[in-house]
Symmetry: C2
Subunit: 333 residues, 2 copies
């Protein structure tokens, strides 16, 4: 499970908690703060929990920063974290800050819930459809962006992508990672989701595998479609698959929810995700793509041999206005 | 306040949480784990909360450790942390581990409480008595222990202390830091404590000052007695007061509770702390000393000009069997 769920001494309530902290991976401190907060909250959202009662912030200041950098950077990280917490309907009431060689940003999200607020991640059944709520490829985008200044690295990928495309993909990855999965968590209730997890360090397949293993029914997850930030699949291929993006094990940070939905609900879930996404602002829902099916099986997950790559254009780009996300009729072979 | 207290959506309950993490300060990994856990829980105990519903562990593994050291050291830290959590009636159900240049050990303690479980730290009134539940001097002891191998440093203090005394003081500091303040938290209810805080990084006076500033009544705290691990006051003095131990601002780790008690309850609180301490084992209560009084004043704390130093002998030493702690009739001039 993405959170720990602790039965309390009080009237059927449970304490649900999660913690996460890591090192900066984007160069915009404000966005880094937002991403860290979205990443912590995501574990609650994966269990269908839309509320958070309290957020603690875990922070370390790098001892290598001079006073000026520290005073410029750290308040922006904190502000981004606080803003994302506020968007999640909670606030940061405490935490701890230490001095460390590296900057650390993270937090602890806690909520006290009634049982009906939680969707335990174990109810998938054969016939369900798998939906993913953010495109893959954040790690590829972050790395490719670093390579803009490293000639040797850049030369490996320059035949498949332009510098402008890398910058756009990086922006898209940053916005995507900073997007809360809260809308998806709410829609999981509306459309009777059977189970979900969030996609982070183990990549889509790793987390799909963990989720499949946790199911009460004997099911297997089969993934047919991979929504990927535009051009990231090509970069991954040009690098000799060092990221394993198409293999499904490229790490994501603050990735989308992988949701098991009843077949008749999946398209509606996707289209409502999309309409809420286009209505919202920077932290809005984004999209949702039907990526696979739940079959009878031995509690594993796999990607078919030649998955369909859905190129997700960066928001704001002309291509983004085409109906590329929330595809109502995906080809599930 | 030592914790954040979040009113919940459910029947008058509150979520009380605290987090703390820091770097190792003793060379015994198991004890380090215990100390880190005791230090996190202490913030709950300072508010009279004796229960903890969940503990998360925050850990970083040093990238500089080789595999062998890592496999030897980290499980001991985790075991110490878990054992102390169990002693606190809770368990570690989750957390996060990262790789970092330095080792980090810490945690998050959470509990969902009814209002009567919490003693808000703002009810001190003139006439109250101040009690401290662990001796001061942990930082001095830890530093002096490091100096055993540093000739230049050692030469500064060797006229006032023997190597054996430093080793004993270090052991005492380690046990003291690993001791839970849970007994004290329980006795705060029994003896109607008016307010409390735990003594950590700002030293006794720093935390006394913060507590005084938070009181509803116009009070001042006046500290007359300083219980100190034996010989640590002499070391501090021999170092030209670099620790500011007698001035009250030497940092403590996982220090005792500073408790404001009604005058007629203080001696009973101390003697019950002492009897529970001698009955218990390694993590037992320890002691308690009346250290000062609450007067009418401007919400500050001060130490009188020549405070009485109470030399607290290391447990197990012959002197420890004398009635040195829980002095029922302290000289409050």
């Amino acid at each position: 499970m993405d959170c720990c769920v602790i039965p309390l001494r009080h009237g059927g309530l449970s304490l649900v908690q999660t913690t996460d902290f890591f090192y900066p991976l984007v160069d915009d401190p404000y966005m880094m703060g937002r991403i860290a907060c979205a990443n912590v909250l995501s574990d609650l959202y994966a269990m269908g929990i839309t509320e958070c009662d309290n957020m603690l912030m875990l922070l370390s200041v790098s001892q290598k920063m001079n006073d000026k950098d520290r005073e410029r950077v750290m308040p922006l990280i904190i502000q981004g974290f606080r803003d994302a917490a506020e968007e999640g309907g909670t606030s940061v009431t405490g935490g701890q800050t230490v001095i460390n060689p590296w900057i650390i940003v993270g937090g602890v999200a806690s909520v006290v819930c009634q049982p009906n607020e939680v969707i335990m991640p174990d109810g998938a059944v054969p016939g369900d459809v798998l939906v993913l709520t953010k495109p893959l490829g954040t790690q590829v985008a972050v790395n490719a962006h670093q390579w803009l200044d490293q000639t040797e690295r850049w030369n490996k990928i320059k035949l498949v992508v332009t510098k402008e495309e890398v910058r756009e993909a990086y922006q898209e990855a940053m916005f995507s990672m900073a997007t809360l999965n809260r809308t998806a968590a709410g829609l999981m209730h509306k459309f009777q989701a059977h189970a979900a997890t969030d996609v982070t360090g183990f990549g889509l397949l790793g987390h799909a595998h963990n989720l499949a293993a946790a199911q009460r029914s004997e099911v297997a997850f089969v993934i047919h479609n991979l929504p990927v930030i535009a051009k990231m699949a090509a970069i991954s291929k040009a690098c000799g698959n060092m990221f394993n993006l198409i293999q499904g094990t490229s790490a994501e940070t603050s990735g989308g929810l992988l949701v098991c939905l009843p077949r008749e609900q999946a398209a509606k879930f996707c289209s409502e995700m999309k309409s809420q996404g286009s209505a919202g602002g920077q932290g809005a829902a984004g999209g949702a793509w039907i990526i696979g099916i739940v079959e009878k099986g031995d509690r594993r997950a796999r990607i078919i041999e030649k998955p369909r790559i859905i190129e997700v254009p960066p928001r704001g780009s002309p291509a983004a206005n085409q109906d590329n996300s929330a595809s109502p009729a995906p080809s599930l072979s």
